[in-house]
């Protein structure tokens, strides 16, 4: 059989499908002819390839268009077929055509309308995504509904505080004695930066000890390895990310790695990394029982110690168990174990209760033992912001539509006279507004996609739009259609009601009150914008206030390094060598990093203290020599711990708050009693700000001389040496004395700045939102002003003929808007004041809201308004009256 070779069948089919009907015959013919020609010239294999290439190059709208351009004329013959319904496809096509023509005709109006709406929608979408991300946090855990964290409330100094740090035995107690729980997993709450060594590579990773139940409780996805990987003590579970960092593409299961340069652990499983909005975050997990094997203090003492709080417990309730009943059962677990030394513990009245996973993220704050919210306040705040900006954008849309639709009254009149029914007119206006809304949607999606990377950086998230999600599209399309219909409803109903005879005879008489709804809307719009502006300024002031707070020490040029056993053992040698480099001016040990406190203690007694005072909590810094010098603290009184005084091992330093709390008149030399020892006050330091929030009041603090209580080593860099140079000199010395760990250092000033992360985020977001709100409002004003000027062209012309100056006309047109803005500011000020007062409530160290803010926002708003309106006003004023008046 000698059949003629042909092009690939699928390609032919495809070609047939995509090409326009009126072009199909010739294009198919051409393609076949070319194929044969090329086949003979280059061989059929190449011809087939070229066929497909040509096919791809044919992908152009011009070649798919169903209708041939010259045939357009033929459509006029359809004129006689009058469509029956206003929803007839032909009618809808006609509406859209007219709408499109109108858009193109009034380019600036369309741009303002579409642009403003798009920006508003984009912001609302971004905020919506952000809120969705926050609200859906932790929902990926299968046991979302039944997981709880055990918390404890205690009373100190008359305040009831809530914490998640519990005594070590609590977990085992809950597991063994309470049948309400399906699973119980204990965990350590420490920062958990440990060094993992593979071969000769050192990694510093964050992880935690956790009970074996956790794997199932948190429905962690085991990608590889053992089903119950935390059973054997010398095991380690890695997240996929960590596994990749440590072992590259090798299979990590069964591999041995060394932790903290001392313990060999076997990798038993790899689990999927938790999403960014999950509460439980880790690079690796360690078996709970490993603690007993490697730390002898855990095994010996902690198992029966009900007074040392430092461990957390996650629990999963059995199906159908009412958490309220469980709460009642477990309330007094701690108290029941402390009957013999009731004095200290029963005073603070510890009570256990369950905090459900659904509240971990957004409701994590407790006041007086009650759950009072948390991050949810920001979620609500931004929900409101998003709504505001969307409303502002929609108001623009409505205002501009109605303002303009009066201009279109004549068109309506003509249409009605020619025979269009009311419903057809309504259909036309609604199609127009919906079309605008959808164009805005397209633009808004574009803006969202462009802004997403920046938004993610700003919010430190990894959000993206799930375009494959039908729910997303449903929401978006319904929302857009709704916006369009809403915005179009008023002009559609209003205009379609006109009497054609009246309109065509003498034009529309727009009543005095016709612009009232518009004015109200402008006031609403500017009220929103002004509230946002005032809030932004106050938030900004509050952040600055916190940043400028005197912190009592010098955080610049101060670095801290996680300590290790090796560093503690060789501290003196390390110190000598570091000082010898000349890059370091001072070095000290401390139990917490320089910008935080990690420990606090009660049980202090002083001259004149009552038994109740024993429950007073003092922040504890444990150090030895040179803490004051290294931190750069200016002593108020007395002296630093010194090598010259052998008695300093029982010395103590206080901060001013502690002196005040103890009511000491002459603190130096006072004897305090704590932990079975008398301690002499040798110095007083100012209230240094090492609280987790720099807006908090500084707690009373005691600085103890404890040689072996070390978590960190702080180093002050010689100010004469550049920090990069200093680091390069320090690093090898740390490497030498700390062989098990990578040299990981943190600058205290950077760490301190991190404390402002949340406020910065809120500040930045609200600044962006309020700027955009102003921008959209001004777009609306600009549009309105131009229509007002246009409407009053004749009036202005007459005024000018009668001698009005440009300034007069400008004043005439601007006055209205200025009034509206002033009214808005008057309404906005108390709202903003109230809202911001509420917000500031949560800060102890806060600003007072100043009247100046309101005045400056008023002035600013007026200036922006005048700038926006002036362009149109002056343009109207400069117009030659001859032109505007000669038409009649």
């Amino acid at each position: 059989m000698n059949r003629k070779p042909t092009a690939p069948r699928w390609a032919q089919q495809l070609l047939k499908r995509i090409t326009a009907p009126h072009l199909r015959e010739e294009i198919q013919g051409d393609m076949d002819e070319l194929f044969q020609m090329r086949g003979q010239r280059y061989g059929y294999a190449k011809a087939r390839l070229l066929y497909v290439v040509d096919l791809l190059l044919l992908l152009h709208p011009r070649l798919w268009r169903r209708q041939a351009a010259p045939q357009v004329k033929a459509r006029y013959s359809k004129f006689t077929d009058v469509p029956k319904s206003f929803l007839h496809p032909d009618m809808i096509r006609s509406y859209l055509t007219i709408a499109f023509r109108n858009l193109v005709k009034n380019k600036s109006y369309s741009a303002i309308n579409i642009g403003g709406l798009a920006v508003g929608m984009a912001v609302a979408m971004l905020i919506g995504l952000w809120i969705t991300d926050e609200v859906s946090a932790n929902k990926h855990h299968k046991n979302y509904e039944t997981l709880y964290q055990v918390k404890m409330s205690q009373t100190f100094d008359g305040t009831r505080g809530t914490q998640d740090a519990l005594p070590f035995p609590v977990g085992e107690e809950l597991r063994s004695k309470y049948p309400d729980f399906k699973a119980v997993a204990m965990y350590d709450r420490g920062e958990g930066n440990r060094s993992l060594i593979v071969g000769n590579q050192k990694f510093l990773k964050q992880g935690l000890f956790i009970g074996e139940d956790a794997i199932d409780m948190f429905s962690l996805t085991i990608l590889n390895g053992n089903k119950n990987p935390l059973k054997e003590p010398y095991s380690i579970v890695l997240s996929d990310e960590t596994a990749h960092a440590l072992f590259g593409d090798q299979d990590p299961i069964g591999k041995i790695l060394k932790m903290d340069n001392s313990v060999d652990l076997k990798v038993t499983a790899v689990v999927a990394k938790q999403p960014q909005n999950a509460t439980l975050q880790f690079d690796y997990l360690l078996p709970w029982h490993l603690q007993e094997k490697i730390y002898d203090w855990v095994g010996k003492k902690l198992k029966t110690n009900w007074q040392n709080n430092g461990w957390g417990v996650f629990v999963q309730l059995k199906e159908g168990v009412d958490p309220a009943q469980t709460n009642a059962k477990i309330k007094d677990v701690i108290l029941s174990h402390t009957s013999n030394d009731a004095n200290a513990i029963s005073r603070v009245k510890p009570e256990l209760f369950l905090h459900p996973m659904a509240k971990w993220r957004l409701y994590s704050e407790f006041t007086e033992g009650k759950n009072t919210g948390g991050f949810i306040k920001y979620v609500r705040l931004f929900g409101i912001f998003g709504l505001f900006i969307l409303v502002i954008a929609c108001i623009n849309f409505m205002n501009l539509s109605t303002a303009r639709s009066e201009k279109r009254a004549k068109e309506v009149g003509v249409r009605k006279a020619v025979g269009s029914g009311r419903e057809q007119l309504i259909g036309q206006f609604l199609s127009e507004s919906t079309l605008i809304a959808f164009m805005a949607l397209v633009l808004a999606l574009g803006i969202v996609l462009l802004a997403m990377p920046y938004f993610n950086t700003l919010t430190e998230k990894t959000m993206s739009i799930d375009f494959g999600n039908p729910v997303f599209w449903c929401v978006i399309v319904v929302f857009t259609a709704f916006t369009g219909l809403l915005a179009g409803s008023y002009p559609a109903l209003y205009l379609s009601s006109f009497n054609p005879v009246k309109i065509l005879k003498g034009g529309v008489h727009v009543g005095k009150n016709a612009s009232l709804p518009r004015k109200i809307l402008v006031v609403v719009q500017f009220t929103f914008s002004t509230v946002l502006m005032i809030s932004t300024i106050i938030i900004y002031q509050q952040i600055q206030h916190g940043k400028n707070r005197p912190i009592g020490f010098t955080n610049k040029g101060l670095i801290s390094v996680n300590s290790s056993n090796d560093l503690v053992d060789h501290f003196e040698a390390l110190r000598t060598e570091l000082l010898a480099t000349g890059a370091v001016s001072s070095i000290c040990k401390s139990n917490s990093p320089p910008t935080q406190w990690w420990s606090s203690n009660g049980g202090w007694e002083w001259k004149g203290s009552t038994p109740d005072d024993k429950s007073s909590i003092f922040t504890t810094i444990a150090t030895n020599f040179d803490y004051i010098k290294t931190m750069g603290i200016k002593l108020k009184e007395g002296r630093d711990f010194s090598r010259d005084f052998t008695t300093d091992s029982t010395g103590v330093l206080l901060n001013e708050a502690a002196v005040k709390r103890m009511g000491l008149k002459h603190p130096i030399g006072e004897i305090l009693h704590w932990a079975g020892k008398d301690r002499t006050v040798v110095g007083v330091i100012p209230d240094i700000v090492v609280e987790w929030s720099p807006y908090r009041a500084v707690a009373p603090m005691t600085i103890l001389f404890e040689k072996n209580w070390v978590g960190f080593i702080c180093v002050r860099i010689n100010p004469a040496v550049a920090s990069s140079v200093a680091i390069s000199k320090i690093a090898p010395i740390f490497d030498k004395y700390n062989p098990g760990y990578p040299f990981d250092y943190k600058f205290a000033d950077t760490e301190y700045t991190k404390k402002f992360n949340y406020e910065e985020l809120i500040g930045n977001l609200s600044a962006i939102v309020s700027l955009l709100a102003i921008f959209i409002s001004c777009l609306g004003l600009f549009g309105l002003a131009s229509f007002m000027a246009e409407q009053r062209t004749k009036e202005i012309g007459i005024r000018k003929v009668l001698g009005a100056s440009v300034a007069n006309v400008w004043g005439l047109l601007s006055r209205d808007f200025v009034q509206l803005v002033i009214v808005s500011c008057l309404i906005a000020s108390p709202i903003a004041w109230y809202a911001m007062n509420q917000w500031l409530e949560s800060y102890t160290y806060k600003i007072d809201i100043q009247v100046g803010v309101f005045l400056s926002v008023l002035v600013l708003a007026l200036m922006i308004t005048l700038l926006t309106v002036s362009y149109q006003a002056i343009k109207a004023g400069l117009l030659n009256p001859v032109k505007s008046l000669k038409s009649e």
């Binding site: 013919g29 076949d32 002819e33 070319l34 190059l57 152009h60 351009a69």
Partner: protein, 112 residues
């Protein structure tokens, strides 16, 4: 003359149609242009351009005969209209004027 503005590719295609005179259809134009411009030509681009030219009224088209290698399908033959000719003449005149007015020094004196 707005509306009859010619793009560079449109001009070349229009010229080719004129050149092929009685046998101007897409494949022939693709072939001719491919040889003359020394670059592979996309059928789609030529089709689009010829359609545009027709909409502008610079060419007329009619269906020609069908052949076996076209699978029995007819080809569309194009001829340049009077308007098309005028536009080409105009374009040529402008180019000639431009060439004539280039000072000798512009091309390093190499233009005779």
């Amino acid at each position: 003359m707005k509306g009859t503005q010619l793009g560079e590719f449109e001009e070349v295609v229009l010229l080719t149609i004129a050149l092929l005179y009685d046998d101007a259809y897409s494949v022939a134009v693709v072939e001719e242009l491919g040889q003359r411009l020394e670059r592979p030509m996309s059928l789609g681009a030529v089709h689009r351009t010829m359609q545009r030219l027709e909409e502008k009224g610079l060419v007329n088209s009619r269906f020609g005969e069908s052949t076996a290698e076209r699978g029995g399908r007819r080809k569309r033959l194009f001829t340049v209209t009077a308007a098309g000719e005028q536009v080409l003449q105009e374009a040529r005149r402008i180019r000639n004027d431009l060439w004539a007015d280039i000072p000798k020094a512009a091309f390093g004196g190499g233009v005779a």
